[in-house]
Symmetry: C2
Subunit: 141 residues, 2 copies
Amino acid sequence: MSCGSLYASELRARGYRMTPQRMLILHILHSAGTHLSPTEIFATAKKEFPRLTEPTVYRTLDFLTENGLVRPAHRGNGHHVYEIARHEHHHLVCRVCGGEVEVEHKVLAKLYRELETASGYRLTDSHVTFFGLCPGCQKGD
Amino acid sequence: MSCGSLYASELRARGYRMTPQRMLILHILHSAGTHLSPTEIFATAKKEFPRLTEPTVYRTLDFLTENGLVRPAHRGNGHHVYEIARHEHHHLVCRVCGGEVEVEHKVLAKLYRELETASGYRLTDSHVTFFGLCPGCQKGD
DNA sequence: ACTGTTATTGCAAAAAGTTGCAATAAGGAA
DNA sequence: TTCCTTATTGCAACTTTTTGCAATAACAGT
Ligand SMILES: [Mn+2]
Ligand SMILES: [Mn+2]
Ligand SMILES: [Zn+2]
Ligand SMILES: [Zn+2]
């Protein structure tokens, strides 16, 4: 059973359908292995599937997010980038050079528990972005 | 010396200028006291100042952010909202009802220090958003 | 394999956000 | 006050993202 079929049964179990568009976008994100913007995804996917349209890309990304197969992250500019869902993590992003490092979720686990206890909220999402200056960009001020 | 004049001297000290557009947008954010989207700000400001255009609103918000007078926050949808800069804080936002609570920055201070030590980054920004379910929305599932 | 239901897509149009550039005006200096 | 420099704005054009709706196609049931 291929990777795509696994995703397909997950979706069908919830009453949704697997389509070539969804398969393709999942494949692009899977093989990229990094964060991609909707525009980048659209450009790549369109080559493979010329009938594809932007609204489908945006709706597909929302759908896959909703179903836990991809995860959105925000960049400083207020736009989302997406990556295939994998282990829970967060990011530190440099305001100057854009450099980024991952932080395991377990580093934040205690904070999450504290916030939940103090507020009554249940925190469901990882993939938080913290902004700052990377070691290199601190030197030049 | 009025509130607007204070902002003005801050900007002039850095070689920038205070303009009616910047004054107005600062005033709107100041009197709103909450997060506003660029569209909301534009709509409000346009009534007071009909010659105002969208590019000016977006550029002004970037400029005021850059200069520490306003702070952007991101909502789940990947768009920014802005508020007048005040004490350092973060937010918990409910994925279901959109409800939101503030968290003092000092609750995260230790985590920030840990992240800085572990990564070498210097974290410069507060106003992080954590997503989850508010107490009310947890009951209905 | 065929059929029917309806989730999903493409299309068209709108809304939101961005960019380049010439015209304007803030504010320091005379 | 007037003049000059140049930061800032408005305009026009463009890109990105969203929305409504009719056409399509996934897939469960036969
Ligand atoms: Mn990531
Ligand atoms: Mn806030
Ligand atoms: Zn850097
Ligand atoms: Zn809620």
